[in-house]
Symmetry: C2
Subunit: 174 residues, 2 copies
């Protein structure tokens, strides 16, 4: 089929990986198309063959970190399922503190969608349905996002923040 070449080729995924590395290492302001290209040993303009725009790269980077959120197997304890998913969700964002600030854009990524659907399904197993199911799904999702945004903004997350977050989640799953 395809012979592996000695030179690593450029690709969409390689670009996204490099972008995440740059964001993790040096923060939002460090992600420029030029520095990104440099970290890949390539010309800035080369990126544009694989990617439409910088905004595009940012969106892919956000969706990428959601891919690391483990989707638990659905168990018979729906509350635990929700807590596991949402805890991983929050942890992923706090592990990449640049991500919450970037969630002003395409949450349309497939990884994000899959997690949201799992959340909704778990709440469905909890007996919610109809409008109430939609309400509670959004309530939880927006609480998690809001928490991540404000905590990431503050710099570091304290044990007190963790406590308040889990307390809030308990309140919602009561």
């Amino acid at each position: 089929m395809e012979t592996t070449r000695p030179r690593r080729e450029l690709s969409r995924t390689r670009i996204v990986d490099a972008a995440v590395a740059l964001l993790d290492g040096e923060g939002t302001h460090a992600l420029t198309m030029r520095r990104l290209a440099q970290s890949l040993g390539v010309t800035p303009t080369a990126l544009y063959w694989h990617v439409d725009t910088k905004e595009d790269v940012l969106g892919l980077a956000v969706d990428h970190i959601f891919g690391d959120v483990p989707v638990p197997a659905a168990s018979d304890d729906w509350r635990r399922d929700v807590r596991t998913l949402v805890g991983g969700w929050r942890a992923a964002m706090l592990r990449h503190p640049w991500a919450p600030g970037l969630i002003g854009r395409p949450m349309r990524g497939p990884n994000v969608r899959a997690r949201t659907e799992f959340l909704q399904a778990a709440l469905g197993r909890g007996g919610h349905e109809g409008r109430r199911l939609d309400v509670v799904t959004r309530l939880i999702a927006n609480f998690v996002i809001g928490s991540a945004v404000t905590e990431a903004a503050w710099g570091r997350t304290s044990p007190h923040d963790d406590d308040l977050f889990h307390g809030g989640l308990d309140e919602l799953l009561r």
Copy 2:
């Protein structure tokens, strides 16, 4: 426009007002120090006498829009107080859709702090205290922020979004 009219003097507040106008009119990408200066009939570098950095301007702009959120007089119906405050909070953010995306750092502004304290006081009147008061305050604040962030990201807010938001709030004030 009116070159004959004597130019008003530059000031911190005049800069912030112009920044908000620019953000409202043309969005985040339009706010550059150069265009901001131009809209004030002044040299880009003149801004730096009144303001430290562009980040500074952004922070002031966010706090400014929170100043427009009416803080209701505390009544004997704490639930209504919460709903009024939080509704105005959300409305202000959706009126300036660039704001949620900018809620990075400047939740330290005085306008923001005043609203948060009113929220906590109202919940206190509702009988919450100790850890539970902190938990619920954060829960509501982060829900509002998360809602504004995701809705602003999606472009426009539909009546369905409104419905889900108020449903969520009812759930929290149950």
